[in-house]
């Protein structure tokens, strides 16, 4: 029922996904029974793989998360996540209110990671680079950054079929001593290799669109601002390009001749249609509010890829390695420290 369009986009997208996916993939559609049934009326083949689960209420796109939690029970979104917890579904997809979906998913499914909220992931257009957290967890210590690395790596493998994705940590420079304490500590933990990841070290802002690594990790504040700034820059460039191209008759003719190339370009630059909420006991995908039928079909396919993959178990394996990896390294002993030790505190062996 969610998103800017609701059933007129979601139902045709599910019908389309059914035609593309194996026979054993089935769907529960939560929402207004009459509306969904009407949309399915001329799709008997697809309808056989769909169960409609009536839900009388809907969470509005502008509802606050706290309000969604209070009055969420019995809404289509709540029921979809509830079906996941009860094992009746393997993944949930929604184009609805992001904040509400995060809050309801956290409440019903519980977090596996030590996060305020599920981490938000995005994929950089064209390159498919996985970038997280893009806004859910504002304050991040080293542990959270490492958790993002673990979850983002497993997600990237499941979504893109890359056997061993490479991981980088976003920073202001590539040298060891750069950045704030949290990022330097996360770098130490990831570099030591106790977490099973192909960690490549620090990356910088311009590496996001360079495809330097498959997975780029940052805190939710930096990730949110950076992603929006990049989207803004792309929009700004597009507008400037249009105004430059149509500034004179010759360039306008050129623009018309190059029209299909410019449209292809625009399509390649458009953001990914769906992203998982990471750190939950269950697979929940958030499709863009303005998702088209094609976008929502892709979101459904991504949900199936994730549900069929080993990604939850992989995350769990690496998460179990985390406490040991986070433990402080043995401090450099007083003995090695140029032989200089505080008077009276020198270990016996150092005296000789």
């Amino acid at each position: 029922m969610g998103g800017d369009h609701g059933p007129p986009v979601v139902v045709p997208a599910v019908v389309r996904a059914i035609s593309l996916l194996p026979e054993d993939v089935r769907f529960l559609l939560h929402g207004d029974q009459a509306v969904i049934a009407a949309a399915l009326a001329r799709q008997p083949a697809a309808a056989r793989r769909i169960e409609i689960h009536p839900a009388e209420r809907v969470i509005a796109m502008d509802e606050k998360p706290a309000q969604a939690l209070r009055r969420g029970k019995g809404t289509s979104m709540w029921n979809a996540v509830e079906a996941l917890r009860e094992g009746r579904a393997a993944a949930a997809v929604s184009a609805g209110n992001t904040g509400a979906l995060m809050a309801i998913s956290r409440l019903i499914l519980r977090m596996t990671a030590d996060l305020e909220r599920p981490a938000l992931v995005t994929s950089i257009p064209t390159l498919g680079t996985t970038f997280l957290d893009v806004g859910a967890n504002i304050d991040c210590d080293a542990e959270r950054l490492v958790e993002f690395a673990i979850m983002g790596e497993a997600y990237h493998r499941a979504a893109h079929g890359v056997a061993k994705p490479t991981v980088g940590l976003l920073n202001v420079g590539s040298e060891e001593m750069k950045g704030h304490e949290e990022v330097r500590e996360a770098h130490r933990v990831l570099r030591e290799g106790k977490i099973d990841l192909d960690y490549r070290g620090f990356v910088e802002g311009d590496d996001i669109t360079r495809g330097a690594v498959d997975v780029i990790v940052t805190d939710g504040f930096t990730g949110n601002v950076t992603l929006k700034a990049m989207e803004g820059a792309a929009r700004f460039m597009g507008a400037e390009l249009r105004s430059a191209l149509f500034s004179g008759p010759l360039s306008s003719l050129g623009a018309i001749l190059a029209r299909s190339a410019l449209m292809k370009f625009r399509e390649r630059m458009s953001p990914t249609p769906a992203a998982p909420l990471l750190g939950l006991n269950g697979i929940v995908l958030k499709a863009h509010g303005g998702a088209s039928t094609r976008d929502f079909t892709m979101a459904v396919q991504l949900a199936v890829d994730l549900a069929r993959s080993d990604f939850s178990a992989e995350i769990e394996r690496n998460m179990r390695r985390l406490p040991d990896a986070l433990a402080e390294p043995a401090p450099a002993g007083a003995i090695e420290a140029n032989g200089v030790t505080p008077h009276g505190a020198a270990p016996q062996g150092a005296r000789e």
Copy 2:
């Protein structure tokens, strides 16, 4: 002597600036006397307004700041900043090593603000939005963010002639409770109005290229990553656009016809040629290492604009208001708190 090109760019730029600037603007050129004199040989008119100050040594572009401080004395960069401290110059411009210029300027001129290092400013192409700190001060408390607002606003007025620039604070959303503690506290201080600024509240990443406000303030970590990400996104889009345009004969013909428009577009997107180091007792400008003659001419003109403006005094005035503005607001008394007070701790007056 600095930058990727040295005197072959700097000397012609100064000659060009002299032809554009009033008679009373004069120049001290620090560096290799023979090289500079040769470059000036056929410019007798300009040479009359230039003093060459021989400096035998140069700071390399890849020198570490600590090393530059140790062996910097007597280099062209050191002497240029020293002339500023001694009152022999009103502003210093360099295309050299940024880290070295920051360290040497801080040592010789001293900071006025409570910063690790001078703040780095950039101007967003086309719009001229002032954006800081873009990488010098990684850890920023509320006080530093407010200092950036004060300095950025005064800079924007001096550089762009805007009487009352508008100021925004970069955050993940525009609501009061969004973001981390530092940004919310800086918001409180700026909103209360004790600092003389036209503060417009929180702005988001995509507002940077929207021209929502004249001055956008953030910490050096977020600013550095965001700026590089935007530059990367612009480069990436440019490359994708080229490959889309030349993907077929019709679109290639279109691209050729639109060539001048595309070049104009590219020029409008290129970054600003120079930025001041803010927070110093003196006006120091860093020109882009790869600055062209035209870029360096603009850097010199900007230095003159700043030196002639009231900007240092304006910053000082607002900085003096800072301690009072930062003081915690009076806490809400127990009496007003719905009359509920801990048993036995209620003030006498509240009992009636």
